[in-house]
């Protein structure tokens, strides 16, 4: 009788804790969405922001966030793919490998504001890149690299060794076994990780304040020459992102509708991150089905 009672108590406690977590999340999301969604309109999503008058939008910030995310992925994905493959498939057990692993762990636990300040000193000041999208993208790469490398390494490791033996015993070289069998099998996990990581990068502010900068210069969406300073694609222009914008409005915003802009921006940010999280699942599952020919 006593064990049964203990069992019931334990289950109830665990259920209450789980419900509490869901409640907190629901409350947060609900609060942000309910106060923010009324301010979202096509005008809000596309118009340039205003510093002193009301009626400003977040068009430039939204574009900057997406552009910065794409750049970050372009830089960090190939590097972490290589590192992940090395660590999972090739790395011998020695001091060098242990050092690499340690470095990745340290890098992943760095506070993002430290990454931002480091980026500021090295790229913005020392290498004279100024507050620019490129400085921001490299800082975000530092931030994203360890997580992505870990994710890729773990996805590859999750593929059973039997598959490696199958490939090798069939006369495939190690490299072909890795790229043609192990990597495709791990792809759904890798893609899920990349998209989840993208959500984190999208919402990152601290690492960008001192690297990509806090000003949204006017950009001309009719000019796609990346070497022109008003082009959206220009790498060297300062670029305030959505998350930085929210931080800035709340710390020093002087426009009359600051609260509304902040609420609307927060809602857009949360919705974007939610989309990333849900699509990570969907894309991962779809890919898995497609690759494995499961119907």
């Amino acid at each position: 009788m006593k064990t049964k009672l203990q069992n019931n108590v334990a289950i109830t406690v665990i259920r209450v804790i789980a419900a509490l977590v869901v409640l907190i999340l629901a409350f947060l999301l609900g609060d942000i969405l309910i106060s923010g969604i009324p301010h979202i309109s096509w005008h809000f999503l596309t118009a340039a922001s205003q510093s002193f008058t009301s009626g400003g939008g977040i068009g430039v910030q939204l574009f900057n966030s997406i552009y910065l995310l794409i750049l970050t992925l372009i830089i960090s994905f190939p590097i972490s793919l290589g590192a992940g493959i090395f660590l999972s498939e090739y790395a011998p057990k020695n001091i060098f490998t242990a050092t690499v692993r340690m470095a990745i762990e340290v890098l992943s636990s760095l506070p993002s504001v430290v990454v931002g300040l480091f980026g500021f000193l090295l790229f913005v000041v020392q290498m004279d890149m100024g507050f620019s999208i490129l400085s921001g993208a490299i800082a975000l790469t530092f931030f994203n690299l360890p997580l992505l490398t870990r994710n890729i390494e773990e996805s590859l490791r999750a593929v059973p060794d039997l598959q490696r033996e199958a490939g090798l015993s069939l006369g495939l070289s190690k490299w072909k076994t890795v790229t043609k069998i192990i990597l495709p099998e791990a792809l759904p996990g890798i893609v899920t990780g990349v998209v989840l990581g993208a959500g984190r990068v999208f919402g990152e502010a601290a690492a960008l304040i001192y690297t990509a900068g806090q000003s949204a210069t006017n950009i001309n969406f009719g000019n796609w020459n990346p070497f022109n300073s008003t082009s959206p694609l220009n790498l060297m222009r300062p670029a305030e992102t959505l998350a930085v914008h929210i931080w800035k409005i709340n710390s020093e915003g002087v426009m009359p509708d600051a609260a509304a802009v902040s609420a609307g921006s927060s809602a857009v940010l949360i919705i974007a991150v939610l989309i990333f999280n849900f699509s990570a699942r969907v894309i991962g599952n779809q890919l898995y089905r497609k690759l494995t020919a499961t119907k």
Partner: protein
């Protein structure tokens, strides 16, 4: 007996532990050879020296020589990729790639650079027929190999090996994870291809060894105890240990 595979004085160590203690064993070209013995006797380890799968384990060291078809497979000039095309392997657990049946069977060929669709189609049909699984899968070759039963998966894995047309096929307890019906199908299948391949099968199932093999080798504690025609090993074992093992007194 003309020797197709000759292994001389094979010593193999996992770290400090000696797993094979000087194995001298030869196999003729074509036919089925069974390796029997209790768990941990070294028969699987020995099998994996023949396509150098033990190379993958960092702590393994090996001495001795292995000649297959006149080639020293441990010579520095030997390319393991070439070797493993000639010496195929089937594992205890069915391990199809998580792709379609068709892709599983053509994988080795396509990686080797064969693109001719007609040749690939022919090879798929021929291999799946040889592996006695064609009738069960021919209607939908493009469904996932993972959706098949364990026995069908194992036969697809065998077809995958047959498709690259090796000289030697190593089977490491290929039926121990399967039901008796599937095991029977695989045994029958091995008997139909015995004239074309040198087959070496590790098995815990003594009846299986006696039913299908031409020659049998008995391993115990990393040593080769006895080797010869299956009939004479089973009916007139020369050594007491062999007699004890096949009559079920231990192991």
């Amino acid at each position: 007996m003309e020797e197709f595979i000759t292994t001389k004085d094979i010593h193999l160590y996992y770290g400090e532990k000696e797993a094979l203690k000087g194995i001298n064993l030869s196999f003729p070209a074509k036919g089925i050879n069974a390796l029997i013995g209790p768990s941990g006797c070294g028969k699987s380890t020995y099998l994996r020296t023949l396509n150098r799968m033990n190379d993958l384990i960092p702590s393994v060291t090996m001495t001795g020589s292995i000649m297959i078809n006149g080639q020293d497979i441990y010579s520095p000039k030997m390319d393991t990729v070439d070797l493993r095309k000639k010496v195929g392997m089937v594992f205890q657990q069915p391990n199809p790639f998580p792709f379609s049946i068709y892709e599983n069977v053509t994988y080795g060929l396509r990686i080797a650079g064969i693109k001719d669709k007609q040749l690939l189609d022919e090879r798929v049909e021929q291999s799946l027929k040889q592996a006695a699984v064609w009738d069960e899968v021919k209607d939908d070759l493009h469904k996932s190999a993972l959706s098949l039963s364990g026995g069908q998966q194992q036969r697809v894995c065998i077809a995958r090996v047959l498709a690259v047309q090796p000289d030697v096929i190593l089977l490491d307890e290929p039926t121990s994870a399967l039901d008796p019906v599937s095991s029977g199908l695989i045994e029958d299948m091995l008997l139909t291809i015995r004239d074309n391949y040198t087959i070496i099968i590790v098995t815990h199932n003594l009846q299986q060894a006696s039913r299908i093999s031409d020659r049998t080798a008995f391993f115990l504690n990393g040593e080769l105890i006895e080797e010869g025609k299956t009939k004479s090993v089973f009916l007139n074992p020369k050594r007491q240990e062999t007699d004890d093992y096949i009559s079920g007194r231990f192991g």
